[in-house]
């Protein structure tokens, strides 16, 4: 990647754009943006973003590789698809945002402390381990991800909610001991392993 980094620093060349086209999900749509800004205005979390999608697309064209990939903006996406249905150029913006986040993660450029990043990884890990999401484990992981003490604290804050859910039988301690799982969890592991392998091959990641 080093060489590519070097090149990409040359601003307003299309190197980074090409990199995105090759390696980011739906990345070849980025060049189609006409900077109307409808996505930026449609995002429910727009106010929290450092960069709006349309601006990120511009930054990609401008070759701002590190700024884009280390940005936490993409991680704000809640997959509400408002931008996608309104975009006059029909860009799959949600997928591109996820794609950029995923790519940043693979390159290790994603903001380490971003909570959604962590949750996203935990979620995937959680659901692929057995083939099904174990909501209780997931919740606990989330609370305890920053260590035991803060975990207890958060858990304490949420105890009321948790209790209500327990009473409503929508959260169940049994899940910790006898969780839901797919019978063929093994098969799932295997097929996913293969999937990663193929994708790495296709997107030309050095293994």
């Amino acid at each position: 990647m080093g060489a590519m980094n070097e090149q990409a620093l040359a601003k307003y060349t299309n190197n980074f754009l090409r990199e995105v086209e090759e390696r980011v999900e739906e990345g070849d749509w980025v060049k189609m943006c006409m900077q109307c800004g409808v996505c930026a205005g449609s995002c429910p979390f727009g106010p929290d973003w450092e960069h709006s999608p349309q601006k990120i697309f511009m930054m990609i064209r401008a070759g701002k590789r590190d700024e884009v990939l280390s940005s936490d903006s993409m991680w704000m996406c809640t997959s509400c698809y408002n931008c996608v249905v309104r975009c006059p150029r029909e860009l799959p913006i949600t997928q591109i945002m996820h794609g950029l986040a995923t790519y940043a993660e693979r390159l290790g450029l994603a903001p380490k402390m971003n909570p959604t990043r962590k949750f996203s990884l935990q979620f995937w890990d959680n659901c692929t381990r057995t083939g099904r999401v174990n909501e209780l484990k997931l919740v606990l992981q989330v609370y305890f991800r920053d260590g035991f003490v803060s975990g207890i604290g958060k858990f304490w804050d949420m105890r009321a909610t948790g209790l209500k859910l327990l009473l409503a039988r929508r959260m169940n301690p049994f899940e910790l001991l006898f969780p839901h799982r797919c019978k063929d969890a093994k098969g799932i592991q295997a097929m996913l392993k293969k999937a990663y392998e193929i994708e790495d091959r296709r997107k030309g990641f050095a293994k």
Binding site: K11, K31, M32, M34, K55, R89
Partner: protein, 740 residues
């Protein structure tokens, strides 16, 4: 024409019969109007009523008909009698519909009707049936000036319509700019890639056609005459000259590119790697000829990065460059970026723009370029600094809101604009064009008013009219293509095709001695009594269409087929020797005199309204249709244009005891709406001088008022009239009554 026989018809329909004493009005037509045959009818526009008039014309040889009914704008189909002079008294929209139906209003309304009938009869007596101009041009050949894509298109289209063409081109070859392009922007779907210019096919069509006489290396040494009988003296570089008989002219002299050397801040002239769009086209053609990719001019090196700078020296507000947008450059840069992308997608092409202007399906072309990887950056370029074989392009990125730069561009293309080749500015012959060049005349017209087409703005010979884009101020000469307005090839071809139709029309009109737009088909034409002429030159100077030349003794020489029949000359003439058969100092003068002027104790002032027939009069009509009431003291006379108003009418009116005169014309100034360009402006100016006359007559200056009105002023006009009537009431009745 046989002994004139007059007849008047009074319609009682649409409530006229109920609102006025028709018998009395009819008697007035007989006695005062001195009309032998006067008939009343319940429903004159009915088939039966029209037949009655027809039979009178047939049986009794009636030649002059006065119809007192609705407005001259209504029932025109019904009241159409070939070879009969027609005057109309507007008793409906002009009288009963603008007056309240009350007892107290009855008398004044009646007087209004009576006067309009008097006026119609008086006008009729002075009217002659126009016979059409005796000056009949016979040539119908079309002269096309300029052999670029516009001119060639004009020539081909004229031929397809069966007209002979003479084509004059300054250069040695035909083809103009289009011949210098490698490819052009597509006109049709898919708007995906550059296409062939098609110029060669046009050149062949013209050169292989015996019906087109082509002069290359040639210019116009002189153009004299008028539609149908132009004489074009063509000077060929070799020194020979030829004279061609011409019916009408299409001027398609195109544009020069704005000189990029005026843009050193954008690197122009500092490196061969900075080119304008024409420069890139020639690079593309050379490369294509060798079957190689486009190379870097400085060293023939590979081109990896190209930057297109939009609006280079355009949309400028410093006053140093072109203030306007040339419209075609965005699509052209997109096309040129595709030259690179289609050959090698690895080349970086960046278009830096502020507003990307690709209307219509250009949007598809834009999208297609993006698909090919052309990138677009909304930014303002601040500088281009060549260093070695590369150029640094600095700009403000308007989206990222920061200063940015492209460090090493191999090629920088400046999208400079179009400067019209429109000849000399006749209003300011010493002016230089946007490139600082002193233009030489293109048409070399021997017209009294100057050698070339009048320019509209920014040096383009465009029409000022939105609804009538071909109406220039020189009848029978039509500008087409970028000489008229910045435009691309597709528009130029369409424009040239339209211009040819207008040229053909002008030639055909000339043969029939008819007027061209806006009085299309009018057979009347200005006639001058030279024995009375004082050679004051007002008519020759003021004619908006440069129709009148001067002979060696500075007598006016009228060229009817250049004339639009507005009557501005008639209005200008201090000795009143110019008139039309059916519209003259007398036809209007007689109407003014015909009005019955009550004495000054009657408290019945009379206000003369001279209303432009194109806008003010229809507005008054529509006010009537909406039943918007106004004073019964006004007497309205429609005029062809306020420019045709001769001050004698005003002074006669005032001497005759009128208490005020309102002149209603169209808006003048930069956004003028006068259909005869300068008519309303001239009237305004003339009336500013009438104050003197008023003083000598010891009359208040308020007694003559000029108004700019629009056709939509249906609400405003009645108000203006009411206000003016009140003003007259305030300053009192005219002391001149009873002397005339």
């Amino acid at each position: 024409m046989a002994e004139p026989k007059f007849a008047a018809y009074l319609c009682k329909g649409c409530g006229i019969g109920e609102r006025i004493d028709a018998a009395r009005t009819a008697k007035i037509a007989e006695k005062e109007g001195k009309i032998a045959l006067v008939r009343q009818h319940e429903f004159l526009c009915s088939a039966e009523g029209v037949a009655l008039i027809g039979s009178d014309i047939e049986q009794q040889g009636v030649t002059h008909v006065a119809i007192a009914a609705c407005s001259r704008r209504s029932k025109t189909e019904a009241f159409q009698f070939p070879n009969v002079a027609l005057a109309r008294a507007n008793l409906r929209e002009g009288v009963i519909w603008v007056r309240p139906d009350t007892e107290e209003a009855r008398e004044t309304t009646q007087e209004m009707a009576d006067d309009y009938v008097r006026m119609a009869c008086a006008e009729l007596k002075k009217m002659k049936l126009p016979a059409g101009s005796p000056e009949r041009g016979c040539s119908k050949r079309i002269l096309v000036v300029g052999g670029g894509i516009s001119g060639l298109t004009a020539a081909v289209e004229a031929r397809k319509t069966g007209y002979e063409v003479v084509l004059v081109e300054k250069q040695a070859q035909l083809g103009g700019w289009a011949a210098k392009l490698w490819k052009r922007v597509p006109e049709r779907e898919p708007h995906a890639a550059p296409v062939d210019t098609g110029i060669q096919a046009l050149i062949d069509a013209v050169t292989e056609d015996a019906g087109v006489k082509v002069y290359t290396n040639a210019t116009l040494a002189q153009t004299s005459g008028a539609p149908g009988r132009f004489n074009a003296t063509i000077a060929v570089e070799s020194g020979s000259t030829a004279i061609e008989e011409i019916g009408a002219i299409v001027q398609a002299t195109g544009f020069s590119l704005y000189d990029m050397n005026r843009l050193p801040e954008l690197g122009a002239g500092k490196s061969p790697n900075v080119v304008d769009q024409a420069g890139l086209e020639s690079l593309a053609r050379e490369a294509a000829a060798k079957g190689l990719p486009i190379r870097r001019p400085s060293d023939g090196g590979e081109v990896n990065s190209v930057v297109f700078v939009q609006c280079a020296g355009q949309r400028d507000d410093t006053g140093r460059h072109l203030p306007y947008c040339s419209g075609y450059c965005c699509n052209t840069s997109i096309k040129q970026a595709m030259y690179f992308k289609d050959a090698n997608p690895a080349v970086d092409t960046v278009v830096i723009y502020t507003d990307l202007r690709v209307p219509g399906n250009g949007e598809d072309f834009y999208r297609s370029a993006q698909k090919k990887g052309v990138t677009f950056t909304k930014g303002r370029v601040t500088g281009v600094e060549p260093s070695g074989d590369a150029c640094k392009v600095s700009f403000r990125d308007l989206i990222l809101d920061e200063d940015a730069a492209i460090e090493a561009a191999d090629l920088v293309v400046l999208a400079t604009g179009q400067v019209a080749n429109a000849g000399v500015d006749i209003d300011n012959p010493d002016a230089t064009d946007a490139n600082g060049a002193k233009p030489i005349s293109i048409l070399n017209l021997n017209y009294r008013q100057g050698k070339d087409l009048p320019k509209l703005s920014h040096g383009f010979a465009d029409s000022h009219f939105i609804c009538f884009p071909y109406e220039t101020r020189r009848t029978g000469i039509y500008a087409a293509g970028p000489v008229r307005r910045p435009m691309d090839i597709a528009q130029a071809k369409e424009d040239a095709t339209g211009a040819v139709l207008k040229a053909i029309q002008a030639a055909e009109n000339a043969e029939l001695g008819r007027a061209a737009h806006p009085r299309s088909g009018d057979l009347s034409f200005p006639m001058v009594r030279l024995d009375g002429c004082t050679q004051c030159k007002r008519c020759t100077v003021e004619c908006p269409f440069g129709a009148i030349d001067e002979d060696e003794k500075t007598y006016p020489v009228f060229n009817e087929s250049r004339c639009r029949r507005c009557g501005t000359c008639m209005g200008a003439c201090p000795v009143r020797v110019i008139s039309f058969e059916n519209y003259s100092v007398d036809t209007v003068g007689a109407q003014i005199k015909a009005v019955d002027i009550p004495d000054e104790f009657s408290e019945k002032p009379r206000i003369l309204v001279l209303a432009c027939e194109n806008d003010a009069y229809p507005a008054l009509d529509m006010a009537g249709m909406q039943r918007n009431h106004y004073s019964a003291f006004v007497r309205v006379i429609p005029v062809r244009c306020l420019g045709s108003v001769n001050s004698i009418w005003i002074t006669d009116a005032l001497n005759g005891g009128y208490d005020g005169v309102m002149l209603m014309g169209c808006k003048h100034g930069d956004d003028y709406q006068c259909h005869f360009v300068t008519g309303s402006a001239l009237a305004k100016e003339r009336m500013s001088r009438i104050d003197e006359t008023l003083k000598t007559m010891a009359l208040e200056t308020e007694r003559v008022a000029t108004y700019e009105v629009a056709i939509t002023d249906i609400g405003r006009l009645p108000k203006l009239i009411e206000d003016y009537a009140r003003l007259i009431e305030k300053i009192g009745m005219s002391p001149m009554k009873g002397f005339a």
